[in-house]
């Protein structure tokens, strides 16, 4: 991208500073397309990350990627800054093939806890002094690590259906010997937004411990992507990560990574269409989030939920006109979009305009019904508190971070598509509670509407013979061997990223998904310990998780 070339000198300067900072720790250098990468010894992970975090300001551990090479295992820590997400650095930790053990980053970044557990589960790297290294996505009794090279996929497996421990047993009591009770919520429960299992320990009415147990929807998305060719076979899968209609936003995450990897320039016209489509998806996703949040809080399956679905339906209708599908759009192609706006264009524009124009009034209704409602306020203000620093430490992003006062939005801070040409704002609330997260979502809908309106204006005036929806893309894409890239976009739930390592074939050698919900869900215990159960349910609802994305 041209933007990057201009910035090159600055990055160089940063790099030498970093080299000086990590001088004694670095054993080798590597270069990822998105960031400089430092190779370190497996026993200096905490030291390196600590220095990068405290002295160089890399306070956002975005992703941990684990992969297996023929001769070694590798964990990659992708670091960013909350102040400037374009300032990235990767830390590569190779470990030997026989005995893959490396130091855990958990003491430095809390979020590494789950990321490393996943790396252990799927790839098989072990992390020294990790607080709780067990399987996270697959059942405990699973044999082997499915993303490792010698895994035999046809091998039989066994999964137990255990009763959870008897709550009256001695070992369920807490230290203070108060009356604790163990409650399973889910994996089949209307308040868990899908197949999530919460192992909750109660002391009287209060939650003293909650442990999300995930993996009930682990559909091997990464493996699926690794089995597909870049050009066409991967694109349908992103639709199924965050399936709450955020399809285009997810597709963009893959498109952005793959396009940069293969050096494809997307025509501007296609970028505008993408931007418009993505924001329609955001509205649809937030509508459902708001509807189900109200459902969690008042158990209101009637009014608010129906209002939300009614408005979502409108966004979906427009998206259906645009893409031909209601939910799984599969509309982006590498280098553009699959087809132009539907004919007659006027009708489409008018429909979109009408939707956007009436949104402010509709939002007024939501504010009347929800945010202005005393019961809801009593239930959400000052409950589920997630302080700013804690949110950063857990790598929370999206409305969850913005509800905790973190002014971080990749559409603005790491611009892609057409966003930097448009006029809109990033809503931030500093209440850090359930209410703030709700407010952020509602305000984001308003901003999305602004973006859509501007896109419609631009598209309407676009000269007919310059409507170029596709760049020239070779029939098969074969990015060079060992090219690595990590790119993120702002999904409906937060920072959605894709890491790809190419190996010279038409399929990626490693495809890793950074899902915002995975990191966001990790904050649940912080928000709900000490609260009542209904507040925990509210906190869970305010996180707006999608299990398809948590489990991938």
């Amino acid at each position: 991208m041209s933007l990057q070339e201009e910035e090159t000198p600055e990055i160089e300067a940063d790099e030498s500073e970093l080299e000086a900072l990590l001088d004694d720790l670095v054993v080798d250098r590597d270069d990822h397309m998105n960031a400089p990468a430092f190779v370190i010894r497996p026993d200096s992970v905490q030291e390196t990350l600590g220095r990068l975090k405290n002295e160089a300001g890399y306070d956002h551990l975005s992703l941990v990627t684990a992969e297996e090479y023929p001769d070694r295992y590798e964990s990659i820590y992708h670091l960013k800054k909350f102040d400037d997400p374009t300032d990235e650095v990767s830390v590569v930790v190779p470990t030997d093939a026989e005995n893959p053990v490396s130091e855990s980053a958990e003491p430095v970044f809390r979020t590494a806890d789950w990321h490393e557990r996943e790396a252990y589960d799927l790839v098989g790297i072990e992390y020294d002094d990790h607080p709780d290294l067990r399987r996270i996505l697959l059942p405990e009794t699973w044999q082997g690590h499915p993303m490792s090279r010698d895994y035999d996929q046809d091998r039989p497996q066994m999964v137990p259906l255990r009763e959870h421990a008897n709550p009256l047993q001695e070992d369920q009591r807490s230290d203070a010997d108060s009356d604790t009770m163990f409650v399973n919520i889910g994996p089949h429960h209307p308040a868990t937004h899908g197949v999530l299992h919460l192992e909750t320990t109660l002391d009287g009415e209060q939650v003293i411990d909650v442990e999300p147990d995930i993996g009930y929807l682990h559909r091997n998305e990464e493996q699926m992507a690794q089995n597909g060719t870049y050009r066409h076979q991967i694109m349908p899968y992103p639709d199924r990560w965050d399936y709450i209609s955020a399809g285009l936003l997810n597709e963009w995450a893959y498109a952005r990574a793959a396009e940069d990897l293969a050096d494809i320039q997307v025509p501007e016209y296609a970028q505008v269409i993408r931007t418009m489509g993505a924001e329609l998806c955001r509205i649809a996703a937030h509508m459902l989030a708001v509807g189900t949040f109200a459902l969690d809080i008042y158990g209101d399956f009637t009014a608010i939920f129906m209002y939300a679905i009614r408005d979502r339906e409108k966004a979906q209708n427009i998206l259906e006109d645009l893409t031909g599908q209601r939910l799984m759009f599969n509309y982006f192609r590498l280098g553009g979009v699959v087809w132009d706006l539907p004919e007659p264009r006027d009708e489409f524009f008018q429909k979109t305009r009408e939707f956007v124009d009436e949104l402010p009034d509709l939002l007024e209704e939501y504010h009347d019904l929800i945010t202005g409602n005393e019961i809801l306020q009593m239930r959400t203000v000052d409950t589920g508190v997630l302080p700013t620093e804690v949110a950063k430490n857990y790598g929370a992003t999206g409305p969850v971070a913005r509800g905790s006062g973190i002014d971080y939005d990749l559409r603005r801070d790491d611009p892609y598509g057409y966003y930097d040409e448009l006029d809109w704002e990033v809503p931030v609330e500093d209440g850090c509670d359930n209410f703030s997260r709700l407010l952020v979502r509602l305000r984001e809908v308003e901003e999305s509407a602004k973006i859509i309106e501007q896109c419609v204006d631009i598209l309407e005036d676009w000269p007919e013979d310059e409507r170029n929806i596709q760049a020239n893309v070779p029939r098969t894409l074969r990015p060079e061997d060992d090219k690595e890239i990590y790119r993120t976009v702002e999904g409906a739930k937060g920072e959605l990223g894709v890491y790809i390592r190419a190996d010279g074939t038409e399929k990626p050698a490693r495809f890793k998904i950074r899902s915002p919900c995975f990191s966001n869900l990790q904050t649940l215990p912080e928000m709900s310990n000490g609260e009542y159960i209904p507040d925990m349910i509210a906190a869970l609802g305010s996180l707006d998780i999608v299990l398809g994305e948590v489990d991938r």
């Binding site: 996929q153 209307p190 899908g194 929807l217």
Partner: protein
């Protein structure tokens, strides 16, 4: 409102008094179907109790509120304003399996979830029916090749109606449910086939390599589900 404005009064001459009169004097014409005529003066019918019960079952279905994956989003739309499954006497989703008689399985079933799903299914009272929604529930759909994905709900529980699509549109699901109702009203139900993945006690399993490997971790009495990926379709 200004008080000078005249109060609104219905103009009796303009309303359709025929209908009103008919209502006031007992059964209106429009209630008199051909069938009613055939019955003559006695408004009773005789039917088999089973037939009647089947009709009742098909006409009042309690769906389990069960969301698994992407398909469940379309399922929610089916329940909600525009498509309104309630119009087809199949509307109110129940949160507990104990109160439901239809389970719509909307999504991908993976190894960790399958035993739980079976448990939920087992908790539903008889007679119970299952609508499989989407390609994943039929065959594993786009994820069929995955290392962890069950190749269709039918490997675990019996399914009465399959609604294909990824995801099926709400209209398709409504159609599937209507078909199921039709079948129930006719007294048809799918045979409960023997499924490859059943829950068994760990102690009852044949001692093979995996059982030996897991013997220290799993209790004899634990229920387990054994997945034989190579042999499933």
């Amino acid at each position: 409102m200004s008080s000078e404005r005249e109060l609104f009064r219905t103009d009796d001459a303009k309303v359709q008094t025929d209908t009103r009169d008919a209502r006031m004097s007992g059964q209106g014409d429009r209630f008199n179907s051909k069938l009613r005529e055939a019955f003559g003066s006695s408004p009773f019918i005789l039917t088999k109790f089973d037939k009647f019960m089947n009709w009742v079952r098909g006409s009042s279905m309690f769906m389990l509120q069960f969301g698994i994956a992407c398909c469940s989003i379309e399922m929610m739309h089916t329940y909600a304003v525009k498509h309104d499954l309630d119009r087809f006497h199949a509307g109110v989703p129940r949160a507990s399996p104990r109160q439901a008689d239809v389970m719509i399985v909307p999504g991908t079933i993976v190894s960790k979830f399958a035993p739980r799903m079976k448990r939920v299914y087992d908790q539903m009272p008889e007679p119970k029916f299952v609508v499989g929604m989407g390609s994943c529930t039929i065959s594993g759909g786009p994820f069929q090749e995955g290392y962890n994905v069950i190749k269709g709900a039918e490997e675990v529980i019996p399914v009465d109606i399959h609604v294909p699509g990824c995801p099926p549109r709400p209209e398709a699901l409504v159609y599937g449910v209507a078909k199921l109702q039709e079948r129930i009203a006719n007294g048809e139900a799918s045979p409960v086939t023997v499924k490859p993945y059943e829950l068994e006690q760990f102690g009852d399993l044949e001692r093979d390599e995996i059982v030996d490997e897991l013997a220290s971790e799993i209790d004899e009495e634990d229920l387990v589900m054994r997945y034989n990926w190579a042999d499933s379709p």
